[in-house]
Every structure is written in structure tokens, then in C-alpha cells.
């Protein structure tokens, strides 16, 4: 299944969730679902889920969805242990898994045979699953968005359409201010 088709399916189900997206997922997501409740300024590689944990702890009444990458997660695997221990109920961790460090030249990960959902489950996530078919993702995403977290989804994807790669646009300061304003308004 294509990553952007999954993102379109996710977008159709979203209401007031915070979405944290990183690197290639972020380029796709900003084109597909521009909204104030997006957060892209995740800086150092691998930390998107850590940012999301901080956001989730600060906003316990709002769901936080992370669009992580498999390469990104491998740079910060300890995050699974930390998130599981913190146990945020409002946390949905989606890994778009294509076996490559896509933002850095699409080089392969050290291994393609990692069971990321198994790692998350072993770390202590309340729910973890692997999805490889778009129809399955479309059928399950509504439930996954309301399942008590932390929830982990390993999405086996291939890249879809090519979206603009524009980091200055992603990292614009006014996007961060828009997110803060939206969160304050929701309190």
C-alpha cells in the first residue's frame, strides 16, 4: 500500500488530534492535511515520538498521533521503553515502514526483518499491530484512534506520489505559534 493513501485515510478520520510528523512523512502530511494541529519541528533525527510524548503529557485530553519512520525509530529505539513506561492513554504511534532511510538517500536499514510491533509489544505498549493492506488500515484506523494507548501500528508501505521537499516551509515559526494557539484555545 502507498503511504499517501494511508495518510488520506487517516485525514478523513481526524478531528482535534495533534499530528507529529517527521521527515518524509512530514513532507507528505503537510501536503495532504495542512492544519494548525500539526507539528513538524522535530529537529534532531529520531525524536518525533519523544516530542509526541511531551505533547501527550501536556495535553492528556487530546489524542496525539505520531507519523514516525522506521529509520527514525531505529535512531531512537529506547523511545519504545520510555513511552510504554510513561503509559500515555492518548498516544497513537504509527511507523511508516519502507525499509529505508528515505530522507537520506533511501539507503536500506541494517535489517528488513524487524518486527517493530513485536518490539513495541515487548516494551509494554497496550496495543500493537502490523498492517500491510490499505483496506485493513481504512477499516481499523477509526478504532485505533480511540483505543487506549499507547498504541503502536507498523504500516508496511511504499512511497506514493512525490510531494514537495521544503524544510523551511515545514519549520516555519508561525506553524509552531499556530499549534500553541490552537492548543490554548482548546483548554
Amino acid at each position: 500500500m502507498k503511504r499517501d493513501d494511508c495518510f488520506h485515510a487517516l485525514k478523513r478520520r481526524l478531528t482535534d488530534e495533534i499530528v507529529v510528523a517527521t521527515y518524509t512523512s512530514a513532507h507528505d502530511w503537510i501536503a495532504i492535511a495542512p492544519r494548525d494541529l500539526n507539528y513538524f519541528s522535530t529537529g534532531a533525527m529520531g525524536l518525533a515520538s519523544s516530542h509526541a510524548l511531551g505533547l501527550a503529557l501536556g495535553n492528556p485530553d487530546r489524542r496525539v498521533v505520531v507519523l514516525d519512520g522506521d529509520g527514525s525509530l531505529c535512531m531512537n529505539l529506547g523511545t519504545l521503553v520510555t513511552i510504554a513506561a510513561a503509559g500515555p492513554r492518548n498516544f497513537l504511534h504509527i511507523v511508516t515502514n519502507n525499509g529505508t532511510y528515505e530522507a537520506n538517500g533511501a539507503h536500506p536499514l541494517p535489517s528488513r526483518n524487524v518486527d517493530f510491533a513485536g518490539l513495541a509489544r515487548a516494551a509494554g505498549y497496550r496495543h500493537a499491530c502490523t498492517i500491510s493492506e490499505l483496506a485493513d488500515f481504512e477499516a481499523q484506523i477509526g478504532t485505533l484512534l480511540t483505543t487506549e494507548g499507547p498504541v503502536f501500528v507498523d504500516l508496511h508501505v511504499v512511497p506514493g506520489a512525490a510531494y514537495p521537499i521544503d524544510y523551511p516551509n515545514l519549520y516555519r515559526a508561525d506553524r509552531r505559534e499556530a499549534l500553541k494557539t490552537a492548543l490554548r484555545a482548546g483548554r
Binding site: T42, L47, H51, G54, L57
Partner: protein, 175 residues
């Protein structure tokens, strides 16, 4: 008050609710205090860069965060400081227990400690070394206020002069 009680009370006085940390011997009284007090959200992290990332997200989400680590753990963090905390103006309050000086037994610790202040200077992060209880509250309080008002991180380095240093190192030196 002990030095650790003063620091924790000053964090509270400044509404710093989140404490992320990677443990260290010298930090023990701080970490015990944080985890025993429901005021704080205590999040143990596996690495220092991860702990900084959590504090960054919390700031975006409306909560002030403190990150506790040891000198050698700080050496994991420069990439995150330079590519996240500084450019995105995250007022992370870093509290760093200082190893590698005033009675260190581990040559690796002694060398890595010498990288800390030059790294902080190179990425323009303000740092203060906390050496005595008399000035402790003033320095912590004013540093937090300045970090938040200027949206810039600060590093507060816990000198062995304040904490008594690492008890393990002390025992080895007595040998």
C-alpha cells in the same frame, strides 16, 4: 533545606512540572524527590537526547520541562541542542551533575567533562556552575525565569563543591 530540596522547590516555584532524566548517582536526591512528589511528571528516558526531545514536545504543549543528566550523558546531546533546542527556541532547563573533576577516578569521565563547557559555548547555551547553597536558589530561580522569558535553554552544572561529588568516586579515592 538541602541543595536538592532547594532546587526542587525552585522548580515548583517556577511551574516546571515535567522532569525528564537519565539517572546518575549524584542526581539521586533530586530524582527521589521528583518521583515521590505528584506535583512533578517524572519521565525516565533511555538517552539524554530523547529526554530533551520530550521536554521540547512538552514546551510546545504548554508545559515547562527540566532535563537531568550527568556530564557524560550530556556528551550524547550536542546534536539535539544544535538542531532542535537552540534553533527552535526551547527553554529546556538542563541540570547536569558534574563528573570528571575534583576527585575523579575515571580517566574517561575526566576527559569527556572537558568537552561540556566548550560545547555549550559553541552553541551559545548559557551555563552556570552551582557551587554553594548560599547562591543556589537565586541562580536556579533567575536562570529559569531568563530561559522562559528569552525562550533559550540554560545548563545548570552541579559542582562537587555543592553536591559532595560522586560517592563511588569518593570511596575509590579513599581506597
Amino acid at each position: 533545606m538541602t541543595w536538592s530540596e532547594t532546587i526542587l522547590q525552585t522548580l515548583k516555584d517556577n511551574d516546571v512540572r515535567l522532569v525528564t532524566y537519565v539517572p546518575d548517582n549524584v542526581l539521586t536526591p533530586l530524582l527521589r524527590g521528583v518521583t515521590a512528589d505528584n506535583y512533578f511528571m517524572a519521565v525516565g528516558a533511555t538517552r539524554e537526547d530523547e529526554a530533551l526531545g520530550i521536554a521540547a514536545g512538552a514546551w510546545m504543549g504548554g508545559i515547562k520541562g527540566c532535563v537531568m543528566m550527568q556530564t557524560s550523558g550530556f556528551a550524547v546531546a550536542p546534536n539535539t541542542l544544535a538542531s532542535l533546542i537552540v534553533p527552535f527556541q526551547i527553554p529546556a532547563i538542563m541540570i547536569i551533575s558534574e563528573r570528571g573533576t575534583l576527585g575523579e577516578f575515571n580517566s574517561g569521565q575526566a576527559l569527556v567533562a572537558r568537552t561540556m563547557r566548550p560545547v555549550l559555548d559553541s552553541v551559545a547555551v548559557t551555563h552556570h556552575t552551582l557551587t554553594d547553597e548560599k547562591t543556589l536558589r537565586f541562580m536556579v530561580d533567575k536562570s529559569i525565569k531568563q530561559a522562559v522569558s528569552t525562550q533559550a535553554p540554560v545548563a545548570l552544572i552541579l559542582s562537587p563543591l555543592l553536591t559532595g561529588g560522586n560517592p563511588v568516586a569518593e570511596a575509590k579515592l579513599k581506597g
